[in-house]
């Protein structure tokens, strides 16, 4: 049995609207990052892998099992949806119990597994707390625990860090990295920091198309020599914002340090080492997206 996910020429439609165009990816053991803006098609791809959505055409095999065989696939995957919620009257223990039953675990195995997982995600003491009363971070940890109930070969986590505070986010990334040691973990995010910290292989999706697939290093290399910094006065900023693809800003008094992407060096600017943010922006930029800056500015 091979330990990889193979996606070939996947197309997906919602009615007449096409959500995924000819997506082909090969995903191997370890963390795999899916990067893209909100609405780019990440969730669609992940739901398709989790057998929640039907594909239009193309081929998907998960560890050698064709995706059409939903029952078998569900045995070997764990899925954490973007928004995690449970039947309102259930507490943490009951939710785990029910989901374990649905995962096909029998009595003894179930109890052991639930205990171990709750301990792993640090929720043992909150066993009797109602799921809906958990904090965002706790909910996400419970989400991971439930996705691991069947000890899956593949873990699919959709936007796991959205809405978490920085401390929770770091903790969560570490947890995922730990899990990824012997599994395929597919992580989607629109937060570049998540990828930077955890993934080696990534794909960038934009408007339903894969615009980059490779390692983080390769992505960085490809952007070499196209990222610059410059210090400008606040007054100049509005005009520069219109002209340049600014990836980050740092204000100091009435001066602003900006980082931007450009094809050639311009006057007063200095070339610098690209980071993933820059590279990501560059890819989006070159794939014909113009209006990204306003949107992502705040998020990074």
């Amino acid at each position: 049995m091979n330990n990889s996910i193979e996606i070939k020429n996947l197309n997906k439609f919602y009615g007449k609207k096409q959500a995924l165009y000819d997506v082909s990816l090969s995903i191997h053991q370890g963390m795999f990052g899916l990067l893209g803006r909100n609405g780019a098609g990440k969730t669609t791809l992940m739901k398709t892998l989790a057998t929640l959505l039907q594909k239009k055409d193309g081929e998907i095999t998960v560890c050698g099992v064709p995706i059409e065989n939903a029952g078998e696939i569900r045995k070997i995957i764990g899925y954490l949806p973007q928004e995690f919620s449970m039947y309102p009257s259930m507490n943490v223990g009951e939710a785990m119990e029910y989901l374990a039953i649905l995962s096909g675990l029998n009595g003894d195995e179930r109890k052991k597994r639930i205990d171990a997982l709750l301990k792993k995600v640090n929720l043992s003491e909150h066993r009797n707390k109602k799921v809906k009363a958990l904090s965002g971070g706790m909910k996400r940890r419970l989400g991971i625990a439930q996705a691991l109930l069947n000890d899956p070969k593949v873990l699919i986590v959709d936007e796991p860090t959205a809405g978490l505070d920085p401390e929770e986010r770091v903790r969560f990334r570490n947890l995922l990295s730990e899990i990824a040691e012997d599994k395929i973990v597919i992580l989607s995010t629109h937060i570049v920091g998540d990828i930077e910290a955890t993934c080696e292989d990534i794909a960038i999706i934009n408007e339903g198309r894969v615009i980059y697939n490779g390692t983080v290093d390769e992505l960085l290399q490809a952007s070499e020599g196209r990222v610059f910094t410059m210090t400008v006065s606040k007054r100049e900023l509005p005009q520069l914002k219109r002209q340049l693809s600014i990836t980050s800003m740092h204000t100091q008094g009435n001066k602003v340090h900006i980082r931007f992407i450009a094809d050639t060096l311009m006057q007063g600017a200095k070339a610098c080492e690209p980071n993933i943010e820059d590279a990501y922006m560059l890819y989006l930029h070159t794939s014909g997206v113009r209006d990204i800056l306003g949107e992502i500015g705040g998020e990074w």
Partner: protein, 213 residues
């Protein structure tokens, strides 16, 4: 991991669902049954009069019990979560349907026995006739809930049909809900058959809908 073993723990799923997803509707149905003797006479009735509390009131528990069968997973987040698990959600629906019908039949049986004890001329056939009404009304709710994805909308058509029966009376022929009160038991066969068909259709629709999205 024993995942190669095919497991589908019907009883465990039923137990948890009963407790967390169906307790309220069963409680409401029971309260409804308890209210009936306060609203309408349930003692010393001949067969036709005894049909009234059964057909006109007790049968309403079908709406209460069956319409919300799909409700818990109509929350999209919960749906995404449980659908990714090995045990398919359609089977969970089936389990809920079966125990909801069982609960309806049980409550109706208890009520019929109660009426018998109050010296009403009731027969087991009348209890079955009432169950047919309940299944029919409930299945209208289930079907609407499945088609619209919204349980609240699901409650509308069965109540409307109930009102129509009050308004139109025996003109509804084989689908007249209160037929036992006029001595007609044949209509119940039609009602029950239609109820089963609609229940099956709504379960099937859930399956197809899930397949095609």
């Amino acid at each position: 991991m024993n995942q190669s073993k095919e497991r589908f723990p019907v009883l465990e799923i039923a137990k948890i669902n009963l407790r967390h997803n169906s307790l309220l509707s069963i409680a409401v149905a029971a309260v409804l049954c308890l209210l009936v003797p306060l609203l309408i006479g349930t003692s010393n009735l001949d067969q036709k009069s005894a049909a009234m509390p059964l057909e006109m009131f007790v049968s309403l528990i079908g709406i209460v019990l069956l319409t919300p069968v799909f409700q818990p997973e109509q929350n999209e987040e919960i749906n995404d979560l449980v659908s990714s698990k090995y045990c398919s959600t359609e089977r969970v629906y089936l389990i809920r349907t079966v125990y909801s019908v069982t609960a309806a039949v049980l409550l109706i049986a208890i009520f019929t026995v109660y009426m018998k004890m109050c010296s009403c001329d009731v027969t087991p056939v009348m209890a079955l006739g009432t169950a047919a009404d309940a299944v029919f009304l409930g299945s209208i709710g289930m079907l609407t809930s499945a088609l619209t994805g919204n349980t609240v909308i699901g409650y509308m058509p069965p109540l409307l049909y109930y009102a129509l029966n009050i308004g139109m009376g025996p003109k509804l022929g084989s689908f007249y809900l209160f037929s036992m009160a006029i001595g007609d038991y044949k209509a119940k066969i039609w009602l029950f058959a239609a109820g089963v068909v609609m229940t099956a259709a709504s379960l099937l629709y859930q399956k197809i809908r899930r397949r095609t999205i």
